[in-house]
Symmetry: C2
Subunit: 110 residues, 2 copies
């Protein structure tokens, strides 16, 4: 039984830089492309692109304020993403436990 997941959402958080971006936004509450890029080993433009894809999948949400553009995490969408992570993790975990159980049963019967 394959877990049905939204590939867009998953691959959004599949990128390590974007994951760190989400981490930073969660830690500081909000940030701009420039402020975030100062705490990451990539340029502002790269951060801006990542914020773009995070925005597109709804994980993050921007509010322009003068010459700045503050981003912050969309909590509901992030919760959905976490749920998907858990779903896949649980499914694989169940498979692993089942395999182990069968393996033990075989071992016992020999």
């Amino acid at each position: 039984m394959t877990v049905t997941i939204n590939d867009d959402l998953w691959s959004a958080i599949g990128d390590p830089t974007r994951r760190r971006l989400v981490d930073l936004l969660l830690a500081t509450g909000a940030g701009t492309a420039t402020s975030l890029s100062e705490q990451l080993p990539v340029t502002r433009q790269a951060v801006a692109k990542h914020l773009g894809v995070l925005d597109r999948v709804g994980l993050v949400h921007a509010t322009p304020s003068g010459r700045e553009k503050r981003y912050q995490v969309d909590e509901a969408q992030l919760a959905r993403a976490v749920a998907q992570l858990n779903a896949v993790g649980d499914a694989w975990d169940a498979r692993l436990r089942r395999i182990k159980r069968i393996a033990e049963a075989i071992q016992k019967s020999t």
Copy 2:
């Protein structure tokens, strides 16, 4: 507190096709590039490449047998990957709950 994770392992399971590959291998126990490609919407060569990266990060393990090359999941490594999924999920979940708690406290105090 950022969760320390192995980016290689994560981005290995970040790709949707590779995730389905792992699913298939878990479901059927083992498979070759050819047999797996028959159950996926991609060519054998694409599957072979994916099996290559899964092999490189140790999520999967090949045993050549004649002209075939049977792959199967490395359970220990997959367990480690699942643990990382859970770690990130838990960290974000904790953050979300904390934000919600603070938000409620602020609301109450106004």
